[in-house]
Symmetry: C2
């Protein structure tokens, strides 16, 4: 029995898509020519949606449409169509500050739950490039910019309390997608759960060890509490290297359907955690004459630059654009106040760094012991080699999550990663 | 020019109230007889609303109606009528757990923004009783019960994430009332602000000192950040001794129009802070043969019992009724897990105690240096005596807010209060 969908909804296909786009002047103009000249490809290789790329004589368009279920699993896992609304709403709200770092939005169709947007070209999914050992010199600068602006400008440091609360209320309805995070990241990897999978039998031992690791389970539960209660900023909610498209000079953030008002460290942690996963996967992609040693070094440098750049830019914004209700400027107007506030900002960033490491670790563990894995590791064919890479990632993640306070600088994290890599 | 109000809204008066209540069967039955036999008194001595007490041959009814402005100030300070919605919504949501500790709700009228509820008798506002040195032996047990249940059952420890997010979204609209708290508690007492007032000239010095006190301003700004971002439970938001009605054997919580999903410590802190304000005010109400020494001791004992009772009951609920998404029970099912979780719960309460002290201190300071004062202190006629009481309260509050970590047990707080009282 097909799942019920609202009146007016039906999945697009090649034929309906042509007439649909022909009726959207901006899209038709971007494509050029007439519908008969357009080529349509459905490329949704993700887990959830239909994704069409349409090419015309002048250019391309991307249409992303939600299905009423999780595509990876099928109709047995129904999933709200409303996720398309939250994705476009995230783009819309962040566009004034970081619009150039996301696909341009042409139209959102609330009946079809379809987003008509810029077709990014020649961008590729960053994760794919990293598996091939490709460097992205612009990435650290651009993602740190994106993180700083998207988190700062939707926080109480920049918004009035009523603007913030309205945003929080709108995104509080994104419960189904948040629930995926709550279950798959913060809970299931730490218990016996049907959906868990890992490289067997090589990781059976460490999986059992983690399920019995009380300190780790307390640490992840504290992080879950934070995820459930810390309404700090409008976060992307799924900011891994598969949600980033890159060229050598450009970076765009996509796939914001998990967005909600949550802890800032969840986004910064997603970026760092996925860079670390890539780092530990590199040995599995090395070949004759391609040791990946330099590339590993580049990844850690990039990770350092991401955090350092983010922290510097976030602090700059706080110093120059603090118009929000938190830390009211009127309280710290004089020289002594400025100096004290400056120290407080550093303490704020130190706390955020700790959150970041905890969430980064949670993201790493779930990708190895939980349901959804990453191809950085999955594409390593030799299971022993893959398991060795995965074990190292798990060991560092466990250390970062349980002994977070030992890591006060991003350099401490790269040093630990290097040491773990050699183990 | 009168403020615009929605169609269907008009302030009730004695005549309209009679016919209004006659049409509500449960209210009419509670009153008994006919409308001509009912006496109506408008008793709104608060700052915001119309409050009518209606007495009939069988019993009484209370009707609370929002006005489109702050009554204390007049039409120059417009204020959303929706506050009545949030008050009744708070009662409705908490009723399954703590209904017997609030007035019973007969009807909410969304057009009139009027709440028809139980008329509490012979209850009086607790603050009034405490000014007279009246003891309330049932209070500590009942308020600690109310706090534990109302906070636990609306937190992620008891609710599923979707239930919690729906509640958060509903109350996120209560921005105007939250804004009053944000401005009047966390900001204005620490700057030169038109609405501030204090006992002059006696407190001019300490008011200036506080405005220059960087550590204090940082501490209150951290608390404000928490107020803006910590969505822990559906809190009352204004739980001072003027929002509590008591007899020797009963206690009811009223006036929940400031409710929203916020930090638990804001409610527990409100109770503790207002008990401390009463404590420091007692010298001002002592008279010949009425030293209030024993009463002061009773207040501190009560304060200790409130926290100790709250913590014990909250922990009991967590142990026995944790069905929420936070700290999932499945992670801590075995003996080692149970033991570790038990320690974690203690750590959670220790953190909540710190929040409580910070918020208690913020509530104390705003009542002495900000716009809205408490009659515990205002009714002390001799300004020198009043200022002495107020200074002590300010000194302790400053200490609790800045050096919070020095106070790990509620007994530490009473000891500091006693020492400050003698100073």
């Amino acid at each position: 029995m097909p799942l019920k969908t609202p009146p007016g909804y039906s999945p697009l296909n090649e034929a309906t898509l042509r007439s649909y786009l022909a009726a959207i002047p901006e899209a038709a103009a971007t494509l050029g020519g007439g519908p008969a000249q357009w080529t349509v490809n459905e490329v949704g290789d993700g887990n959830l949606n239909l994704v069409f790329l349409i090419e015309g004589p002048n250019g391309g368009i991307c249409v992303k449409q939600a299905l009423p279920y999780v595509r990876l699993v099928g109709e047995g896992w129904p999933m709200t169509l409303e996720r398309a609304f939250f994705e476009q709403e995230y783009i819309r709200r962040h566009a004034p500050q970081v619009g150039s770092q996301m696909p341009r939005l042409y139209r959102y169709d609330p009946a079809l739950y379809a987003i008509v947007m810029e077709r990014l070209s020649p961008h590729i999914i960053m994760r794919h490039g990293m598996i091939r050992g490709q460097r992205y010199p612009a990435f650290a600068g651009q993602i740190s910019d994106f993180l700083a602006k998207s988190l700062f400008f939707t926080s109480d440091l920049a918004l009035s309390a009523d603007e913030k609360k309205a945003m929080m209320a709108a995104f509080a309805a994104n419960t189904e997608l948040c629930k995926i995070t709550e279950d798959l990241i913060f809970t299931e990897p730490y218990i016996v759960a049907e959906r868990n999978r890992w490289t067997k039998p090589q990781l059976d031992g460490i999986a059992a060890e983690f399920r019995a690791d009380i300190e780790l389970k307390l640490a992840v539960s504290r992080l879950k509490w934070k995820f459930l209660t810390s309404a700090e900023a409008l976060i992307h909610g799924d900011l891994h290297t598969g949600s980033v498209m890159v060229t050598e000079t450009d970076m765009r953030v996509i796939d914001a359907e998990f967005s909600f008002v949550g802890p800032m460290g969840f986004d910064t942690g997603a970026v760092l955690g996925n860079l670390l996963l890539s780092y530990f996967s590199q040995e599995g992609h090395a070949g004759a004459g391609d040791t990946r040693d330099d590339y590993e070094a580049w990844i850690l440098e990039t990770m350092e630059q991401v955090w350092i750049g983010f922290a510097a830019k976030f602090l700059d914004l706080w110093r120059s654009q603090a118009r929000g209700d938190a830390y009211p400027v009127a309280l710290f107007a004089d020289a002594a106040g400025q100096k004290a506030l400056s120290a407080e900002r550093e303490a704020f960033m130190a706390r955020l760094f700790q959150d970041t490491l905890g969430f980064a670790a949670a993201k790493m563990i779930r990708r190895i012991l939980g349901l959804a894995h990453v191809i950085d590791l999955e594409h390593i064919k030799d299971p022993d080699l893959r398991a060795r890479c995965e074990s190292r990632a798990l060991r560092l993640a466990r250390e970062l999550m349980v002994n977070t306070a030992r890591y006060q600088k991003i350099g401490d994290v790269s040093a630990a990663a290097r040491a773990t890599r050699k183990s």
